[in-house]
Subunit: 340 residues, 2 copies
């Protein structure tokens, strides 16, 4: 049975419907935090081309794979990768169980907040910190630690939880793509389990679509108490060439859309671009020192140099944050809408 109104009441509400329709259309407009500039235009044109049945660019839903870097692409990465800030906080939290850290580098440097000693410990030092805070525990315990930290820690400059340091325009892009039957993946240099601690709630990306750097794990059976132990052996470094390697190993399909922000995403973008048919390659370009940060070729974090050259040469979409995004983080008020 279809509910219906008696005829005399139908006319009474017709004007209301007429009034509401334009509002509904506006509410359904995708990507409201994007200015009507070239980036939004190129994305919508791409999505329409690959989702329009009968179009020569049509792609079946099963093959609509979209991959996104995380740090600097879906959330901020300054003044340091948030996962590294988590590792430092974990060293502080675990210090009472490790009295030896008081005089052992690089732990001492973290505990004394000695930036110079920390820098001197270099990549080896960082790997020791990652090892001490990310391995030797079960996956479940690690994810619990990450969730606790994410719920309590605050960004040193904005004072916001890290899970609010995400990009509103990218959230809208993820939603828009999923509404068009894309499967959205994260393919990031970050630790897979760390990202799974928040990706579903914050980005709507389920754990099985989070791909990152992994450690070799070991199934443990202690008198029927089963767990998965994270060992200190790196299994896969999901950065640079490691990204297309992991896409091939774990997705088994070539993406038709890829988004990154740094040279670590170059091979993923190249791999996506090299497939047949229409493709979309995008770069977030950090150009907004007022609302976020401005950095590219000279940054230690999220360096964008070779990938920027290649994007310009090949006509990939470069999203100039300052001009293309009305709002960056969800907690900011939207900028005044530009005149169309």
């Amino acid at each position: 049975m279809t509910p219906s109104l008696p005829p005399h009441r139908r006319y009474r509400f017709a004007w209301l419907l007429a009034l509401a329709l334009p509002l509904l259309a506006q509410a359904n407009e995708p990507l409201p935090s994007w200015n009507d500039g070239p980036a939004k235009k190129s994305l919508i044109e791409f999505v329409r081309a690959v989702t329009t049945e009968g179009s020569r660019d049509y792609v079946k839903p099963a093959e609509r794979i979209a991959v996104f870097d995380n740090d600097g692409t879906l959330w901020s990465e300054q003044p340091a990768y948030f996962q590294v800030l988590f590792a430092f906080d974990e060293v502080r939290r675990l210090a009472p169980q490790h009295p030896e850290w008081k005089t052992q580098q690089p732990f001492q440097a973290v505990l004394e907040n000695d930036q110079q000693a920390l820098a001197a410990s270099g990549m080896d030092g960082l790997l020791k910190i990652i090892g001490a805070t990310h391995t030797g525990i079960t996956t479940q315990a690690f994810i619990d630690n990450a969730k606790t930290w994410l719920s309590q820690a605050r960004h040193p400059q904005t004072g916001k939880p890290y899970t609010e340091m995400i990009y509103q325009p990218m959230l809208e892009m993820l939603d828009y793509l999923r509404s068009q039957d894309f499967k959205t993946y994260i393919v990031s240099g970050g630790d897979t389990a760390f990202m799974r601690a928040f990706a579903e709630q914050v980005y709507g990306v389920p754990p099985e679509q989070v791909i990152g750097t992994t450690f070799v794990t070991r199934f443990q059976d202690r008198d029927g108490d089963l767990s998965i132990l994270r060992t200190a052996h790196l299994a896969h470094n999901d950065d640079g060439p490691g990204k297309p390697e992991n896409i091939d190993a774990l997705i088994g399909r070539r993406p038709i859309l890829a988004f990154g922000n740094s040279d670590g995403d170059l091979q993923m973008l190249q791999w996506t671009a090299a497939g047949p048919g229409k493709r979309f390659m995008g770069l977030v370009h950090h150009t907004d020192a007022q609302r976020e940060w401005a950095y590219d070729r000279d940054s230690k974090i999220g360096r964008l140099d070779k990938a920027l050259d290649e994007a310009r040469k090949r006509g990939w979409t470069i999203v100039d944050m300052a001009s293309q995004w009305r709002r960056i983080h969800p907690f900011e008020p939207a900028a005044t809408e530009q005149v169309q």
Copy 2:
């Protein structure tokens, strides 16, 4: 607008509808190739419990993860794993490019069909054959080889293509679970790329839901010609404890249903069983020497010993092929329906 018939015609067709309803109900009855025995009953009871909103066993669709072993669970595995038969055929196909194989074991044994010499070469020999036929080429080339073989090779006893040596009741189970918003995964000791060559077409399982044994790969860029090379280094052996390790690493959720057929599936079944809430653990028991093969504790292939004991002890569902399945392979006629 709802299409409607004038009132006098509605009655004219009412009897037709009354006649059609029981037929429709029968067509929609899940698992038609399963006898109405304990296995089918336990599965349907489980699925109803976890999919009924308001039930205390209710599981959200996003968490309805079902994992299936492949060899011996979704398709046959006798007289040898089909992937091994593929490797032998590949040795024969590639022999003209390897004249040294004529006098080099274990290749000579394959070329001369010398079962004794082949057995003498043991696991080392098999690994050499896998190395020579499965690695040193790109993922794409390997999948192309597998597809060519699958389209041409025939099972030595039935004369059927290997992709028809699948189990009709398990196809129906996969379909049934997917119709109830389960996400169906393969978690197998077989090579991931080998299974991806047919899993989507044959099982309806997309490449991103095929988890298996993998080799370390290397992204190659030869003057812009990009490819993924399969190296001879094993990345992960997806067997025994390797199954829950991979489920944790690649799915990141604990399954609520797991199906296997051998001791290599024991840890996956244990891992599934150890989660909270209602769970389903199933074993295909090869008991039908007439229609398929009968083997368990003493078999070199698909040995089912410890897992059988544990299934009996813990009340997991053991599918006795001979009595529970009306039809085994799709090419067989259905057995006469048993009286209800």
